[in-house]
Symmetry: C2
Subunit: 375 residues, 2 copies
């Protein structure tokens, strides 16, 4: 008999990466997935085949689980609300997931809560866009929903691009494009009792809106480090999140602006598997099961680089031996996914005395394995 | 498509603990087991139900695996030899497994190879026993085969106990009982190419012949530490072992004697999961797949204590929350096994600035969880 069963909606890399700490805790993962042949499917015993938006499938998942959590956030929120109403325990809750899924609602919520965000406004017409462009000088255009990994985000678009995007009819917002000194992410875990553990803030290196690399600790002053932790904690408390959450921030000189939140284990916390006492995935499981949280301390400076499909016909899975040989201290994590261009198919973490040295080593392993290299 | 498939004969905690690094490497484990409800069964996708001594079952396992390895060493060696002869790749080989399974053959092999062992001789009659007891002054009586975790070992038995054991008709040996200063274990991994990585020697704390706790680094002089590494490497090279292996040693003042070897990931290396750059399980998988080996460095002093069923009606699985609350930095590993008295059902690892402090903390967690406590 396992200690407990955690149902996961979605079988991608996040569910896959939950399995190692689940094994330690004696917890069974049950994963609802559409593709049993990649991601979490090949590494867990209990899978349920189905769509993450199928009521029948989620009810089947919940029937064998003590609690249900999620691997991604593009979900049918009305369905989740209905299931919660019927007594199914979903962590994070549909209310938290709804705010994460709607960038406009999220910004409004933060503004009301006194959490600093970049100037923003909804746009529905090209006139709205023109006014925002004039007022903000430089803008980012975003779809309010379903954008991730750079999809649905247009950085400093020209007028004709904005017209084209507006013609699609999606709900959109513009934000002021700020001159960011450094982009930060703070991962934390909050349990139903309100216990919170905050990981060390990290620097994220973005490319085309996708997180490519992470360095910890972040190269910021102790004052900013502390401010980032406090801000992230405040976000989690306002959202009443349960589980692990990432708060992405822009650091503009000595000011912090919250960019987005992801109420789940997040790419900016993948280094915690190898670099922290307790990983973001273990703490996520502990939190959704209302177990006490673990020490989030960073054991050493570290860097994580995503392994991204390069579209050059090379498959990093066939170059594992070269990657391992390149650096005996590197930790390679493969997701058992086909290397489509731009797709995250693994990550490499290196711990070293300095984060910069760790980053250089991690990039080298990615390079050797034939992943897209974007230094 | 996984990077490779590794078949494991046996579905206990060792197979279970291989799954986390298999996930990282993108490797599928396929486990041949009799009890799908505990140990490795609940945490891997591919299982084959059957006896570890069933030719049909092992052939089924091999048919879907790139290489076959083992979770324990009480195996039908004639069967494994036959399968190897038919071209099935088994690592470690049946030759290495045969020497590990037969303590008398092992001692003779070591003696011939110039590897220091305690004085020993076979015994078949009580006269043999009497002579050995007179010559060696103090003896340990052992079954040559199938003894583990203290079963099949009698420390300083009196004559009547020896008579009783002899009457069972098993193949037996006696060894000189040495006045051990400290018991050491050296875990290492050897690949088919002959590449060897050696983990830091650890102190093992035995109770009734069962390993109860491990501390690393071992409290020995640099000279002895180096001698232990050299000796372990020599053992692995003589045995031509492939995969992870543990070499247990007695330290008698400044002399080292090899006690036993286990040609597989071993209890004395469980701390490597949380305390080393690359765990003994990851390096085992790398070795059996002929992949380059990982850095075995100890990242900090550490201690591991086994969680052993106490027979007091408490189930540590029901006390996980208490264990986690007792020490946010402790790493608890449960094997999803019922807590029969004397049965290893999990382990707790703690990293700290000093191994002694780590040991104290690990014992406290075991105590809180209701495991047998034997400080």
């Amino acid at each position: 008999m396992p200690v407990a069963r955690v149902g996961v909606i979605g079988g991608g890399q996040l569910a896959r990466l939950m399995q190692a700490p689940a094994i330690g805790l004696g917890v069974d993962l049950v994963v609802l997935l559409e593709d049993p042949g990649s991601g979490a499917g090949p590494v867990v015993h209990h899978t349920i085949l189905g769509s993450p938006d199928s009521e029948e499938a989620i009810r089947s998942l919940a029937a064998v689980s003590d609690v249900v959590t999620v691997d991604h956030e593009v979900l049918d929120l009305d369905l989740l609300r209905r299931l919660e109403h019927d007594g199914i325990l979903i962590r994070p809750t549909s209310a938290t997931l709804a705010l994460a899924a709607d960038k406009l609602a999220q910004k409004r919520f933060f503004e009301q809560a006194g959490i600093p965000v970049a100037c923003f406004r909804p746009v529905t017409t090209i006139d709205d866009f023109d006014r925002a462009a004039a007022d903000f000088r430089s803008v980012v255009l975003k779809m309010a929903r379903t954008g991730y990994d750079g999809r649905g985000v247009w950085i400093r678009p020209d007028r004709s691009e904005a017209e084209r995007v507006l013609a699609e009819g999606d709900e959109l917002l513009v934000e002021q494009a700020v001159d960011t000194t450094v982009e930060l992410a703070v991962v934390l875990t909050r349990s139903p009792s309100g216990e919170v553990v905050v990981y060390d803030p990290v620097q994220t290196i973005q490319q085309g809106g996708m997180c490519r690399a992470v360095l910890g600790p972040a190269p910021v002053t102790p004052h900013l480090d502390e401010a980032a932790r406090t801000l992230a904690r405040s976000v989690a408390e306002h959202l009443e999140s349960i589980g692990t959450m990432a708060v992405e921030m822009f650091c503009v000189d000595d000011r912090l602006l919250v960019n987005e939140v992801a109420p789940r284990p997040h790419n900016s916390g993948h280094h915690t598997i190898d670099a922290c006492v307790t990983s973001q995935f273990e703490n996520h499981l502990r939190a959704v099961l209302a177990l006490p949280l673990g020490d989030p301390s960073l054991r050493s400076p570290a860097a994580m680089v995503n392994l991204v499909g390069s579209g050059e016909g090379t498959d990093p899975r066939h170059r594992l031996a070269r990657g391992l040989a390149a650096d005996p201290g590197a930790k390679i994590h493969l997701y058992d996914k086909s290397p489509r261009p731009g797709r995250k198919i693994g990550h490499v973490t290196v711990c070293d005395d300095e984060a910069d040295a760790a980053l250089e080593r991690a990039w080298q392993v990615v390079d050797v394995m034939g992943g897209e290299v974007a230094r």
